[in-house]
Symmetry: C2
Subunit: 374 residues, 2 copies
Amino acid sequence: MSSASVRIGQPAVAVETPALVIDLDALEHNIARMAEFAGARRLRLRPHAKTHKCAAIARLQLDAGAVGVCVQKVSEAEALARAGISDLYLSNEVIDPAKLARFAALAGTVRMAIAVDSTLGVDRLAAALKAAGTMAEVFVEVDVGHGRCGIAPAAAGALAHQVMSHGLRFGGLQAYHGAAQHLRSEAERAAAIAHAIGQARAAQASISSAGLACPLVTGAGTGTFIHEAESGVYGELQAGSYVFMDRDYADNAWPATAPRFEHALFVKSQVMSRGVAHAVIDAGHKSHAIDSGLPRVWQRALAFRNGGDEHGILRPLEGGSAAALPALGDTVWLVPGHCDPTVNLHDRLIAVRGGLQDGIVEAIWNIDARGCVQ
Amino acid sequence: MSSASVRIGQPAVAVETPALVIDLDALEHNIARMAEFAGARRLRLRPHAKTHKCAAIARLQLDAGAVGVCVQKVSEAEALARAGISDLYLSNEVIDPAKLARFAALAGTVRMAIAVDSTLGVDRLAAALKAAGTMAEVFVEVDVGHGRCGIAPAAAGALAHQVMSHGLRFGGLQAYHGAAQHLRSEAERAAAIAHAIGQARAAQASISSAGLACPLVTGAGTGTFIHEAESGVYGELQAGSYVFMDRDYADNAWPATAPRFEHALFVKSQVMSRGVAHAVIDAGHKSHAIDSGLPRVWQRALAFRNGGDEHGILRPLEGGSAAALPALGDTVWLVPGHCDPTVNLHDRLIAVRGGLQDGIVEAIWNIDARGCVQ
């Protein structure tokens, strides 16, 4: 972990680079807009904490009306529970008995739910909870189009029945379409989610045929939540990235009626070398994830070129002149291509009030579940 | 940080997933081969620690004859110095006065060197060292082909003169060609390094014209070190990735005479979901970096497909059958596409002796400089 100091009250421009900086006004705007959206439709909002891994941000979401948060790994749940978050849904499968034992222990201290998509998974989960003497809510994951985890809709009834036969609480269906989130056009996303809704309905029918009730369908992400919200099928939204709004989500085409989210997550960087026709900044892909493409340079007519792990190379946008290049020592703000894995590279978020350039550090938040991949 | 336990003496197969595992036999083989290569040619070896960020591995390299290690950031130097490494070369530019003050303080406790490529950088470095009352060796970086940091060869003499006019120790030339490392064919890499050697010679001439001696030319990486070693110009090799040998470097074409390095770094993963024609493992790009392409599945006829941040999707190789797919709960080992940023995602390296599948955990090493980007 870096030993550079950062202090509350410090000007944002004085924060050492590279650093992960939050524009608090934008963050609060985003949290409020999504809470309003879900509230107006009487939908539960359970934002995905895999995006921020940060108890301080989870608390802001809960204060705005979220019913709890989602996590993706047992260690992520443990870290957020330690930091005071008490209603966690692990929206993913766990098959390792040692990890399930940790999950079951955690379920004795906070409210836990989990997803399943196999009979082996249900048996092992039930054994772990029985051994620990604890209880959890269980969601059956259906593959609604991604082709990753989840069972076929027609198999949902049998798996839900198995969950209940072990005396576990059947919570409903996990129906998240990850691959739909980054389809660029609104029409493509609408079509993908129409398919997902059909799959979720088919799974509901399977559960009904098994003589069971389906209390809830949960899913949706920042790219598609408008469609799940309109479906009448989904009762809970899991969107996470809206809180930061990365470059990749901003590149999606959005309908005029969609809530507008603002960029709230930035990598602060500094020019450390200058050529005649390029500038080199001190942030490469050890500072921001590039799985969804390169970052965008914020409010400057500059293109970011991959400079490797530790550097970024800036050039004027096409048609621009070298006069647009920043000078040695100048600050440059980046909007990361993908927020979730970018946050996972850092130990803390530096929350700034009053804008990036003129603002003041108002809070320093631990990224409590940074690196929690197990 | 994950709370899962791992113990020395534990079977490797019992280590919780995803985890970063070292094959110690392969690691020691790689360290010995590179030490022999440099030793036989009377070249200094200063491996780049940005690859492993781990004092335990740096010590193995030093024990095998390395003169010290390179780092890329001040905070990386601080972390390795705290962990006992006492000869560090920061082969990169630093322009921020606050960071330079930290560098100068560190130079009072361990032997430090640094690269420069601007008059502003030299002035600020000199001011920081003067304020701290410490000394460092300074290398002038020349752009030998990458087009990133470094000055033109003809400017080297003037900058070296400025270094000495401040009373700093001029160490020689930093002449690393990063972009050459991953050119696939040996002929392309040879041509790129022939150009780099020409640029380094031109910089030496500039220094000589300024009436100065050039004590050392330092550079080279795992993809090209054979060429720098043969040049008669380079006196020190900075290769780092050879210690782990990732998928991307293995994909380079290698001449028969090159030292053979083995894969020593693996991500251990587990099958957590199974479809009819695919398996899903619990390692995505929060567990391994994908900037240089996807990982390779180790010793199985399976293709890895991007499953996002938390998942990997495995399918049979083309022409293979679904019978090749692993079962729910099975262990799958991945060879990461790029070792440096993969290591930077984890807190520790689990070092295994006796092979991955049958081996025993012999050591657990902190990744001391994980996340040290400042």
